[in-house]
Each structure stands twice: as C-alpha cells, then as structure tokens.
Symmetry: C2
Amino acid sequence: MLSKACEYGIKAMIYLAGTSQEGQRVSLNLVAQHIESPEAFTSKILQKLAKAKVVKSVKGAKGGFELNGSTSKEIFLWDIVVAIDGTAIRDDCFLGLNYCSRSNPCPVHDKYEKIRDDIMSFLMKTSVHDLSLTVQEGKSFLS
Amino acid sequence: MLSKACEYGIKAMIYLAGTSQEGQRVSLNLVAQHIESPEAFTSKILQKLAKAKVVKSVKGAKGGFELNGSTSKEIFLWDIVVAIDGTAIRDDCFLGLNYCSRSNPCPVHDKYEKIRDDIMSFLMKTSVHDLSLTVQEGKSFLS
DNA sequence: TTTAAATTGGACAAATGTGTCCGATTTAAA
DNA sequence: TTTAAATCGGACACATTTGTCCAATTTAAA
Ligand code: SF4
Ligand code: SF4
C-alpha cells in the first residue's frame, strides 16, 4: 500500500505534531529514535517533507524540525503520501490499467471501487492532528 | 497494493477462466498478448501459479495452460495473491508496525481497521469466476 | 525416428526502493 | 572569531522487483 519511506514519513509527522507547540524544534536524531527508523534514511524523508512545505527545517546549532504552518489540523495524510510516494496510489488502481473509466472498467471495478473511494477518503480526511492525540495520551504507538 | 506480478497473475487467471472450458489449453504467448504483459515475465508468473496448483500447465506440442480443478468458482483472488505476493498485504498493515493489537494499536487503527477488513473480505470472497463473466460479455477489459 | 511446438528453469540485466557515508553549509553560542 | 551542533545533498551500496535470454526438456504429430 505505502512505501516504507511513506510509513516513516507519516510516523515522523505524527511525532512532530506532539512536539511542535510554539516553534519548538526536535533534532533528526530524536525523530528517528521515536519512530524507530534509520537516521540517514529519515533525513532524506524529512527533506522531502520540507520541500513539500509540511515540515520546517532549521539548520545549524539549536536547529531541527517542526511542523510547518500553524497547526497539524490542516495537514492530512494525503499531503504526506503525495510528498513521498506521489499520486500513484490514487492513479494506478487495483489492476494497474493504463486507461480505465466507468465505460471501460477493469473486471474488479464493481467490487473494488468503494474500497478505493474509502481509502482516498481516509487519506484526504484524516489529519495528522487526529492521529497525534491518541499517541500523546499513550493510547496508541509509533513502534 | 499489489505487485505488478500479482496484477498480471490475476489478469491471467481471469483470461484463463474464459478459455478453460473442458480442458482446452492456451499458450503462454496468447495469455501474454491478452493481458498485455511481457511474455517471459508472464512465464515466471504462470509457473508460480502452477506450483500453487491454481493453474495446470502441460508441456510439449499442443501444451499450454488451463485452470486447475473443476471450476473458477472455487478460486479466489486471495489464492492468487498468496501464491505470488505472499501474505504481507494482510500481515503488514498500514504503518507496518512489527507488533500491533487492539491493546497496542498504531495511531490509524480506529480509522483504518474497517478498510483493511474490507480489502481482505474482497480478496477472500471474490472468485475468478465472478470477474470473468463481465469480460466474456465485453463489459470489462483486461487492458 | 525426426521434427516442431511448447513449457521449464537458471542465469543474467535493468529499474526501483531502501539504506549508508561523508563533506559542505548554516547557525548559535562561547 | 572560533567552535560545536545541526541539516543538506551528492555519491555510493544493497535488496527487491521487474524483465530478458536461452538451453534443456517434454510432447504430439509427421
Ligand atoms: S477498479 Fe475501477 S478505477 Fe480501479 S483500475 Fe479497475 S476500472 Fe479502474
Ligand atoms: S491499523 Fe490496526 S491492524 Fe493495522 S498496523 Fe495499525 S494497529 Fe495494526
């Protein structure tokens, strides 16, 4: 479903949502520790997220990462997926047909369309904020 | 979601369901043409499906491939997925946590669990026969 | 028995995804 | 001004997936 990089990216964003009150920054090292991902690989992922403007990175001493913009309520899973994996999960559907439509459907269309719509709805309507709450309460976990 | 190999495998099975009345065989070349996949790669995939006993292969002149067993109604998408991709799609869920459960869930569990169950239900309850009907009627397509 | 049609399986090649290393650069603080 | 703490970015390494090539084998038919 998602690439490993994208899984790490989502976890990183959820972690950052819990540390990003009032411009407080955390280092790459801390992020990687909390989401249990290789540090150098996490670095690449955070760079992608920074280029997509969903995280803000600050270089130099006392630098680090924080969520960009005012609030994690405005950042949705879909933003992260697009930044890291692109739109293939939406565009290349179940059987990976090059061209499909309601008048030229693949054989699974009738049975799969609802699942695809549910996935897209989940990705576009679930905010990082939604997910960070239970982590901060200790009711869900990133590793 | 699925590997390319698995997509080809599903298409091949759906195509074979339309050609496999009464032990009639089709060649690798024909299968690859109809599902628009590279012939040599398709060969590897059909070999996997043959080892999983969902297709029967016959070597030599007048040989070829046909569905194994009596009917495509007994072969489900899940059988094909397991034969080619294994059970990762079921075992490694959305965020790829190593260990998760209702008492140790990842942050998306509440929102994603239903989608996962819907996908598994779709894979386990959809038979190749279900899918081949609309193709034979010209109402859906494999390319 | 010979030939042609077909799958099989091993080795290889290319592309992508995952992960590492390290020097360059930036910034805050001593 | 110097130093230490950080991210950045390019090059590389490794694993997996995707795809190709070809000789070996099997089988039906001439
Ligand atoms: S399920 Fe529908 S949308 Fe998805 S590939 Fe098939 S025809 Fe296209
Ligand atoms: S959604 Fe639920 S089942 Fe899937 S990884 Fe998260 S906790 Fe596990």
